[in-house]
């Protein structure tokens, strides 16, 4: 008996090559454009021109004054809050703010206490943000306890 080599019917197969090409192109695109998202937030500061502010300022409600001093490299060397020397310890700054506003004006929001930050010109911005963080509040577990919301800057020192 002779068995013939019967040809099997061709299956209509989808060409994988072009699809894989495109899929890999997509993959490369997404890998190249991928950037880990860093969450950002804002410290909101309302600072109108100093002239108009001075007119409306209540003399009994003077802002706290935070002075930040820097060395030649821009590193923080010392800071003082209302002439109280605090060294470079931001926790101490926070503790002083808590004691000062806790005893004088516990109100928050628009009528709350105000702080004026007076920094050396070359102080790195990072230290200013750290000081703003220290005076703005602190974290109590997952809750944020607010301290001072009104922040302004003194005139730049040249």
């Amino acid at each position: 008996m002779k068995i013939r080599n019967r040809e099997e019917g061709h299956k209509a197969e989808l060409s994988m090559t072009s699809m894989i090409d495109i899929v890999f192109l997509l993959l490369v695109f997404f890998v190249m454009t991928f950037k880990i998202v860093e969450l950002e937030g804002d410290f909101s500061v309302r600072m109108p021109l100093a002239g108009r502010e001075a007119v409306s300022m209540d003399p009994t409600d003077l802002p706290l004054k935070l002075r930040l001093r820097a060395n030649q490299e821009g590193r923080l060397t010392s800071m003082s809050l209302n002439e109280i020397d605090l060294g470079t310890d931001f926790d101490q700054l926070r503790a002083n703010v808590v004691s000062l506003i806790g005893s004088t004006s516990p109100m928050e929001g628009e009528d709350g206490p105000e702080i004026e930050i007076d920094t050396d010109y070359n102080l790195r911005y990072e230290y200013v943000i750290r000081s703003i963080t220290a005076v703005s509040g602190y974290k109590d577990g997952n809750e944020i306890v607010k301290l001072i919301e009104k922040i302004k800057f003194a005139k730049p020192r040249r």
Binding site: M1, I3, N5, E8, M16, M19, I20, V23, F24, L26, L27, F30, V31, T33, F34, K35, V37, E38, L39, E40, G41, D42, F43, S44, V45, R46, M47, P48, L49, A50, L68, G74, T119, D120, Y121, N122, L123, R124, Y125, E126, Y127, V128, I129, R130, I132, T133, S136, G137, Y138, K139, I144, F153, K155, P156, R157, R158
Partner: protein
């Protein structure tokens, strides 16, 4: 009797798991891609703070100023110094006024590099104040540690 076995032409590997994985990777990157990164600038590395949270609603009429480490200011893709920033701000203010809004409605978002001199940031604020802008947002990175 001889029966010839027909061998396949090519020894093809099974592509299914690879395609599965590739599609999963694509789905992963598509979900995580953030097209709203246009606000960021490569020359700016923000300082971080534990107290900030991402805003629930976007700021109205934002004017985004990037302050690079050397104090150069980037606004809308153009570079400025504190002396020339006025020109760029006026351009933005014109757009805001064209929408029948006041200058005071604008929010100036300051994205300054963490090692830039804070005096440079103060200069930026001063120039903005001269243009009657008074709402500022100091943008920082959220520190979850």
């Amino acid at each position: 009797m001889r029966v010839k076995a027909k061998k396949p032409d090519l020894a093809e590997g099974d592509l299914t798991p690879m395609i599965d994985m590739t599609f999963q990777l694509i789905a992963f990157f598509m979900v995580l891609i953030n097209f709203a990164q246009t606000e960021s600038n490569d020359r700016v590395k923000l300082p971080s703070s534990q107290l900030v949270k991402p805003p629930e609603a976007p700021l109205e009429f934002p004017i985004i100023l990037h302050v690079a480490q050397d104090g150069e200011i980037i606004l809308g893709g153009d570079n400025f110094t504190p002396e020339t920033l006025r020109v760029g701000l006026r351009r933005e203010i014109t757009v805001i006024k064209a929408e029948n809004k006041s200058v005071k409605d604008a929010n100036v978002v300051i994205r300054a590099h963490k090692d830039t001199a804070s005096g440079d940031v103060q200069e930026v604020i001063r120039v903005c104040q001269e243009q009657q802008l008074e709402n500022f947002a100091l943008r920082v990175k959220e520190d979850r540690s």
